[in-house]
Amino acid sequence: MRNKLPLLDILAPAPGAPRQEDPALFEYTLPAEITSIYPLTAAEKLYQIRLIDPGQRERFTFKPGQFVMLELPGIGEAPFSISSSPVRRGEIELCIRAVGKLTNFLARLERGARVGISGPFGTSFPLEKMQGQDLLLIGGGLGIVPLRSPLLSILENRSSYGRVDIMYGAKSPAELLFTNQYEEWRHFEINLGITVDRADKSWQGRTGLITELLQERLSQTASLRDNTYAIVCGPPVMFHFVCKMLTEAGLPMQKMFVSLERRMHCGRGKCCRCNIGSTYTCLDGPVFDYWSVLNLKEAI
């Protein structure tokens, strides 16, 4: 007599104990449609994306700071910060620079194209804790992209927050993102400071490093200890200088948040490509407080 072992159907519910996480949800893609495309610069476009299934649209919610995996079947899949406000369910905006295989392919798509979305994944900015406080949103280059989602949430609830400053630096005026929205932001009593590394002939604004903008802002306040939160997002070198300045200005580490970028192949804490030690940028981040970042070697 030969004993043939039974094949377990792992997708069948386990007897007695309901599953906490459905394994069938590991590899899924929600069909979505690109509803609008706004070119922002020569390299970046803002894509409005809407889930196709009304039920999925209704269930899809996210918090500012979280990201989605965007998939083009046969081309690839990559993580992108959500740039829009969470108010519209099942609709997101992604600001994407054409820089790799997937993003260059995406740049050639037109309105109505089908893409796949999974998520949202990762941690978010604790906006509820930030209420009643002054806010510093500091972005360098594409770092403005993950800042836009918390910013729009703040604008929707402007009276709940104190003074709000945005400090934004780009390499050149041609690379500034969301230029058509600055007036609207200012309309909501947002102090918007913009600086570029290299001016062109038409540039009327500031030239210089973002740290100079920050220095000016810091000189207006004695200490950031009691009533300020900061969100910092930009290239690795910017984190070093900006976070150091904020710390010296008295801002407690647990009130300073950064959003980190890493390579990701799953978004679900399995591929290890985004690991910093064994901390997964996809699960434990991308939003970290400054204490967590300092505690992780090689984070910034």
Binding site: M1, R2, N3, K4, L5, P6, L7, L8, I10, L11, E21, P23, A24, L25, F26, E27, Y28, T29, P31, E71, L72, P73, G74, I75, G76, E77, A78, R97, V99, G100, L102, T103, R114, G116, P236, E261, R262, R263, H265, C266, R268, G269, K270, C271, C272, R273, N275, G277, S278, T279, L283, K297, E298
Partner: protein, 345 residues
């Protein structure tokens, strides 16, 4: 745990009882340049193929639960969009006939991150849950430091574990299928003498280790020595070839690629195991590489295994099998690397 003993010749009968399933076991695959046999895990069809007195296989058993390449999904492309089909690639139960304690413990460690964490990986889980594992005792080889890692014995993660007592096997039974199987053999309850012999063999095994790693307080020491010159020393030697991850029973990092069929009507999504020592591991679009030097990548491998994983799961992601050191062309071994970082060269 329930224990039994049975005569050695009964083992062929045990194999016979399981032979309706796909059986994987250690087989001899020729000799190395020093004349020592090379072993690997293969699907076997005959009990005589099994080399149960094997020293160590070149590759770990992970490929049977975590294939090097695996199709995650296929897409049928059409004018309106696409339809995604997911197949977990769980085909049939697999019997592992003769797995050492280190490899059993390696699967237990993979379970922590792939099965018992947020977003359990169903491709792994499906294959893992349909494994029947028959473990077998081993003798320490010069490269083995499993005793240092606390993985020299397996306390769970198998169905049946056999220890060679001489003329008979001492069987530890951990599952109902294993119990039912043994009830079809001629088994006895172990005597007091068998208990003594089992403990004696375990003690002898413990005395025979020559390699060791001091992991006490290692998470802290790794943080202290983040800027140590030792990393540059080993980084200089490292070929960034990824062989260590390839043979490692616990390395599970991967990359995902997608392909479009030539007829443009279908597409596929494939997972391929990667290695954190390969140069592009942490390179993001646009070209920034978070770990551009081989020293930073080698260091990261040790940080993940001996610091990060400990922080997340209270145990290191290493079972001390020593395969990485044996396979490494640059002769980099964990005992040497960790000793040098600790300043104990």
């Amino acid at each position: 745990m329930i224990f039994k003993v049975f005569k050695k010749q009964e083992l062929a009968r045990l194999h016979e009882l399981l032979a309706g399933n796909l059986i994987v076991g250690p087989v001899a695959r020729g000799k190395d340049r020093n004349g020592k046999p090379i072993y690997d895990f293969e699907v076997i069809s005959d009990f005589a193929e099994l080399a149960l007195d094997y020293t160590q296989t070149v590759h770990s058993p992970k490929r049977f639960v975590l294939p090097y390449r695996e199709t995650l999904a296929t897409f049928a492309l059409n004018a309106d969009g696409w339809e995604k089909q997911v197949d977990l690639n769980v085909r049939q139960p697999l019997v592992f006939f003769g797995m050492h304690a280190c490899d059993i413990n390696a699967l237990n460690k993979l379970d922590l991150v792939l099965a018992k964490s947020t977003y359990p990986n169903p491709y792994y889980l499906g294959k893992r849950k349909t494994l029947f594992i028959l473990g077998i005792s081993c003798n320490p080889e010069p490269q083995c430091f499993c005793r240092s890692m606390g993985t020299d014995f397996a306390s769970h993660g198998f169905d049946l574990f056999l220890t060679d007592l001489g003329g008979k096997y001492f069987a530890e039974i951990l599952s109902a299928p294993a119990f039912n199987l043994l009830s079809q053999l001629s088994c006895q309850e172990p005597s007091a003498k068998d208990h003594r012999r089992y403990k004696q063999i375990a003690n002898e095994k413990s005395r025979r280790y020559t390699a060791a790693v001091d992991i006490s307080d290692l998470t802290k020491i790794l943080d202290l020595e983040f800027a140590s010159k030792a990393w540059d020393y080993w980084g200089e030697k490292c070929l960034s070839c990824g062989t260590c991850a390839n043979v490692c029973p616990t390395c599970y990092c991967y990359g995902v690629e997608e392909q479009v069929g030539l007829d443009l009507r279908q597409a596929g999504k494939t997972r391929a195991l990667h290695s954190c020592n390969l140069i592009d591991f942490a390179t993001v679009a646009g070209g920034h590489n978070f770990r551009p030097t081989s020293a930073s990548r080698l260091k990261y491998r040790y940080y993940h295994k001996h610091r990060g994983f400990v922080e997340a799961f209270e145990e290191p992601l290493c079972v001390g099998c020593g395969r990485c050191g044996t396979a490494c062309l640059a002769e980099i071994t964990p005992p040497a690397v960790i000793a040098s970082v600790r300043g104990k060269e």
